[in-house]
Symmetry: C2
Subunit: 296 residues, 2 copies
């Protein structure tokens, strides 16, 4: 069987291992990135390089982006120099695997449709570790036939691939996920703040609270890091902030009040101001400690 040629644009901490899994599954891979080291690493494994997004679009049956923000997504696909979408041919598939505004997603999907190109939104959860180990959860919106065609490709990168609905719905599911992540982090941080002020042992608290109705992935994993004073990122404050910014803009458009998410967004804004935006999201407890007058 001849596998289609895949293009991959955006080789950051997520994109790089994701592209590698595609290549190692046997797909011909064409890559493009502004930074050299990940390009070199993938060329060494057999990928080819294209000098512009348009060249990726011309050469591939499927083009994937994994980019940091809306502005870059818009530029690479549509409005920059030599963008990818206008260069793609009929019946190819464009896939955005970053976290992007649902409204921008729908705009790009509509333009793609006018070219006969299917545009899928397929944001992921699972973080760097999930990307490395190909255990991501991938939430896909867009044309269901294109989804079926792309499914084997998604399966090289993820363990759980879910078709969510029409264009933009993958991004909306990702935002629902980030609400639970952000407010769930507040649940853990506020609980442990109270516990430490009461003089309770934090390791014992995390262990006691992990198994019952208070239990969560965050309590077990990030609560434990808080107890150990470890603020290294799993997932960085500034990346969650980018997602919460998209979320709150999106919710504003439908006049949906999100009391918890907005509160957590503001607390993390404090950490960005103090230069702690590159810490892990569990550093939320530092903001709470300062509110309680501790000089942490």
């Amino acid at each position: 069987m001849i596998l289609p040629t895949i293009g991959f644009i955006g080789l950051g901490i997520m994109g790089r291992p994701m592209a590698r899994h595609i290549l190692q599954a046997g797909y011909p891979l064409v890559v493009h990135s502004r930074s050299r080291p990940p390009i070199e690493a993938l060329l060494a494994l057999g990928a080819r390089e294209a000098p512009t997004p348009a060249q990726v679009g011309t050469q591939c049956q499927v083009v994937i982006t994994c980019l940091p923000d809306d502005e870059t997504v818009r530029r690479v696909w549509l409005t920059g120099d030599d963008p990818a979408l206008p260069a793609m041919t009929t019946d190819t598939i464009a896939i955005d695997m970053g976290t992007t505004s649902p409204s921008l997603t729908r705009e790009l999907a509509q333009y793609a449709q006018s070219l006969g190109v299917a545009f899928l939104d397929a944001p992921v959860t699972g973080g760097q570790w999930g990307a490395e180990s190909a255990t991501l959860t991938i939430m896909v919106g867009g044309d269901p036939n294109a989804y079926e065609r792309a499914l084997p490709l998604f399966q090289t990168m993820g363990k759980k691939v879910v078709y969510v609905g029409e264009s933009g719905k993958g991004q909306q599911m990702k935002l629902a996920n980030q609400i639970a992540v952000a407010v769930g982090m507040l649940a853990v941080a506020e609980s442990l703040l109270f516990a430490e002020q009461a003089g309770l042992d934090l390791n014992l608290t995390v262990e006691t609270l992990s198994t019952g109705a208070a239990g969560s992935w965050a309590m077990e994993n990030l609560g434990k890091r808080i107890a150990q004073g470890d603020f290294q990122p799993g997932f960085m404050v500034q990346l969650l902030q980018k997602d919460l910014h998209i979320l709150l803009n999106e919710a504003r458009q439908t006049a949906t009040p999100l009391l918890g998410s907005a509160l957590v967004h503001q607390l993390y804004t404090h950490l960005e101001r103090t230069g702690e935006g590159r810490l892990g999201t569990q550093a939320l407890i530092q903001a709470l400690r300062r509110l309680s007058g501790e000089g942490a």
Copy 2:
């Protein structure tokens, strides 16, 4: 081996099955309650009845209470007619298994000490189902020797018994637990509110979000109930409100701001006002829906 005689005061939805487990483990049991049906049920299984808390105190080596609020706790142990504590003899153990203010706990423990009685605070989590199936988590504060002596008794009611520290620390651990429960419920409800407003299928959302970084006991169990429109209690709003009230009073004494817990407390206050205090805690989403202008 001759087992000590146990007294049990307060036979509500939690106390009744807990007392039954003690009886069925072979301990002689003396019960006291204001309501007849649970008394009758336990008498039929071999318990004896005492007409006052003081009579329970006189007859037993260990006295347990499982009562609804601080006022009742104070009255039954100390300030009511024929209270239990002054009737207890040296070297016996008094145990409060309800959720009680840490400050009241310390006050009762101090008085008990003056009588040569050990007072343990041993609040539980796991709800009615945990009480029925003897799988409660029990968090114990107070004298460590008394804890060791009472441990076999706790093990008849709970699966996980944790010694937390000196008097009051069991109650503080319980409050830390309730913070994670309450704010974690907001994480689930706000996430599902956004999802339904985005037109996502709620069952699919709960399933997708349950396994990763957004996952929690609440998402899996109460998120599923929300998706099914089921607001029957696991744990009632008004009972969580009682605990949050204790929590916020306690935090006020140390000037500890608890932004998330206070927010959730206020949202649940809305549900109490609308006569929904006896629904399960997952009804939080109803308050959020109304804030979004839905007539739910």
